[in-house]
Symmetry: C2
Subunit: 297 residues, 2 copies
């Protein structure tokens, strides 16, 4: 396990992910050049890379070769990037700023943004199919199926459909949780499990990681809701206060900020408790759950 401290580890992994993503993405000089430039614009040079960080941290738990984990990490990040591009489109959230830059359809055009998202999704599966990620092919097929299910109508895209239908609605906290388990949680859980799948883990530890992944997915969303309510656009790198403007149910709108913060702390405690049986190999995952909360505290 790496001995560097957390901030340095994070910077190191982020740089590695950036490099791998850049290598996976077709060059902006390859035809169709405008589409490829837009794909690179949408993926590179921004983002905290939380999902790749989780994949690498889970890979450490399973003693996975980082050269394998980087492909899984990038596949998840490509799915995440495509979802942001499509989510920002006028027919969805209609957002103009993302990661401190104009959103893809603002910088290019809507048709290009649509095709960027579509192409990034295909690329994610190409990356996951082309690399050798495990010694057992059956495990790699499971990884491909896991990412596909986490991305689709019973995962992330389904969560977005629930989110879209929820605008202006009064949701219970259970309904909100159901939405976020899909919209944000599915891909975060997939990031953790895919990273772990590149190595070997006894079933009990895999289950522990799965519990950690589920708590972390919700934790991440609660913190996002608090940030949207409290931070400004410059700090956030995306339009702040959008949830309230769009009349979207959030943890803050349902629980209030104080209770939402308490819930974040509770979820962090649950996430850490899930890691207990694993011990020190889970250090990076524990640090990441602190990092996710510390984005705002």
């Amino acid at each position: 396990m790496s001995q560097v401290d957390f901030p340095n580890w994070m910077v190191e992994i982020q740089a590695r992910v950036e490099k791998t993503l850049s290598r996976c993405l077709p060059g902006a000089d390859i035809a169709p050049a405008r589409l490829h430039a837009a794909m690179r614009y949408s993926v590179l040079g921004g983002g905290k890379r939380v999902r790749p960080l989780l994949a690498f941290a889970a890979g450490e738990v399973a003693s996975a070769d980082p050269a394998r984990v980087e492909h899984a990490a990038c596949a998840v990040e490509l799915i995440h990037a495509y979802s942001l591009v499509h989510d920002d489109l006028p027919c969805m959230d209609d957002d103009s700023v993302r990661r401190g830059k104009p959103t893809t359809h603002m910088e290019y055009d809507e048709a290009t943004a649509l095709l960027v998202g579509d192409s990034l999704q295909s690329l994610a599966f190409a990356v996951l199919a082309e690399a050798r990620l495990t010694d057992e092919p059956a495990a790699q097929f499971e990884m491909l199926a896991l990412l596909a299910r986490a991305s689709g109508s019973r995962g992330m895209a389904g969560g977005q459909a629930i989110d879209f239908a929820a605008v202006g609605q009064q949701l219970t906290i259970e309904e909100l949780e159901h939405m976020h388990i899909h919209k944000t949680g599915a891909l975060i859980r997939a990031a953790v499990l895919l990273g772990a799948s590149c190595g070997r883990l006894p079933p009990a530890e895999r289950e522990a990681l799965d519990r950690f992944g589920k708590c972390t997915g919700l934790l991440f969303q609660i913190v996002d809701d608090i940030l949207d309510a409290e931070a400004d656009t410059a700090t956030l790198g995306k339009t702040a206060g959008k949830d309230a403007t769009q009349n979207k149910p959030t943890y803050v709108s349902i629980l209030g900020v104080t209770r939402a913060r308490e819930m974040a702390n509770e979820l962090r405690a649950q996430a850490l408790a899930a890691l207990d049986p694993i011990g020190s190999r889970a250090r990076r995952l524990a640090e990441l759950s602190h990092y996710i909360v510390a984005r705002q505290f």
Copy 2:
């Protein structure tokens, strides 16, 4: 090889594909129900299933088990269906009729249509990852990568980007061909190769199928262009004459109908010539190339 005549074979395969697609798609009663209903609306009950037919016909050449081919065939059709849903969106072709029914965004809404397409793409890869399609895992990883590449920015989605950029432009016949090799050709070629990959083929026969797939992809597009120029909306099941209205370069606009028909006949002859070394096992593929042309002659 099946002894039934071509029309009966086609009806039999189409029914089988419909059944498999229906089984792959989440039920309209499963949450998020509206998204799942829209996915089923977009995929089921229409379409000639040309790509699945090609996959089954190529599977026969390679003595593949049809129970394996049906998964590959459905994965390709799911990609095709997603591309139609996204292609019909207002920011792309802005079409209101498809397969004789309102397009998905007309029947539902734009956000749902966007998520339908996204979810169908994920589902295609889930189907291809979850079924056992070959005896050798390496071959199945290649199939997954092949479908991902054929769908993405250097395949179908890239072709749509070129198409979108070409509106109102004067293209040479070579540029038009380049566009269609990506937009339509990549997925048709993938259908043929994926069907064949479910069985076993000597490399020379696989190359012959690849040549057949490339010719057939272009053939299909030329016939499509002729139909768009000559048929009416009722016959076509989609808005006729759109290419001219949208000022899109087509084989008809560049070559005229007579020369486009001649070119279709030439391509069909090339497609059949590619099958020569294979002999009678390629009967269904040959019949399919006739069928593709006969749509209009």
